[in-house]
């Protein structure tokens, strides 16, 4: 379990250079970005599914969760999802589930 301060750290608003930028392929940016875990969850629902597939299999979500949000637990859950090789809306739903569950857990820890 994370401490109050580390939970707050994961939930913080990030500067724009540390935001997650959604691409559909090498160099093709969709215009959708998220500067917090909360925004990330919202954007999972609306971004082009090709973008979710592109980033999941490159390990970009896992890396962002670990290195930028500093949440190893979320990173591990995303890594586990990658091994299941979901595609399309199954991927969207499962990623949304993992990220939103983790968000709720972290929010509870900050109360």
């Amino acid at each position: 379990m994370k401490s109050f301060s580390s939970s707050s750290r994961t939930l913080r608003k990030l500067p724009r250079e540390n935001a997650f930028y959604f691409f559909t392929s090498i160099g093709n940016y969709t215009g959708v970005s998220s500067a917090s875990l909360k925004e990330f969850i919202e954007k999972i629902k609306e971004v082009n599914i090709k973008s979710l597939e592109f980033h999941l299999y490159r390990g970009d979500f896992q890396k962002w969760a670990d290195e930028t949000l500093e949440d190893l637990e979320l990173a591990e859950k995303i890594k586990s999802l990658q091994t299941l090789k979901p595609v399309g809306n199954t991927l969207r739903d499962q990623l949304y589930f993992i990220a939103s569950k983790r968000f709720e857990e972290l929010e509870r820890q900050t109360l």
């Binding site: 250079e17 930028y21 160099g27 093709n28 940016y29 215009g31 970005s33």
Partner: protein, 167 residues
């Protein structure tokens, strides 16, 4: 197409000197003067004046990177921007070493077109994701990786100072 001269009046000799320099900038004033049948001191004076006026920007070597064995990829990046921020985005892009050329274009949407080089696709993507996408005013980006280059020349001044459009 006519070449307009903005501010600095060049005469026919200036244009001919520029033409000679573009063909071979390593020529001496003497050789250039001999080629154009004018005194080398005249060539020297004209060149100095055009350097001071910024007409001659610099002397450089055109390196064939492929033959030199350099491993790199070239990409053409189209950046869609908020019209209010396009100038700032173009200027910021111009500061990066990986960005070789930057243009703005008037089409249905305001675009910035840039030529970018990188060691490989991963480094190209990393550059765009971490250095271009976060710039304020960037709305989205489309990137095409060049697979084969058929022509890569700079504009050379011809006798009439106009580009020759004939094949």
């Amino acid at each position: 197409m006519k070449m307009k001269n903005r501010g600095n009046v060049l005469d026919d000799l200036d244009w001919r000197i520029l033409q000679v320099l573009q063909e071979n900038a390593k020529q001496t004033y003497m050789e250039t003067g001999h080629h154009l049948q004018v005194a080398h001191s005249t060539v020297h004076d004209r060149i100095k004046k055009m350097e001071e006026q910024g007409i001659i920007k610099k002397y450089t070597a055109i390196v064939n990177l492929e033959r030199a064995g350099a491993k790199y990829i070239t990409a053409i990046m189209t950046v869609f921007t908020d019209p209010k921020e396009s100038g700032n985005v173009a200027e910021r892009l111009s500061r990066y070493e990986a960005v070789l050329e930057v243009f703005t274009s008037l089409s249905e949407e305001l675009l910035i077109i840039a030529k970018v080089i990188a060691e490989d696709q991963e480094k190209l993507h990393s550059f765009i994701a971490h250095s271009v996408a976060p710039l304020p005013g960037v709305l989205r980006i489309r990137t095409s990786i060049v697979t084969k280059k058929y022509k890569d020349e700079m504009f050379f001044i011809k006798g009439g100072h106009n580009p020759d459009e004939s094949p």
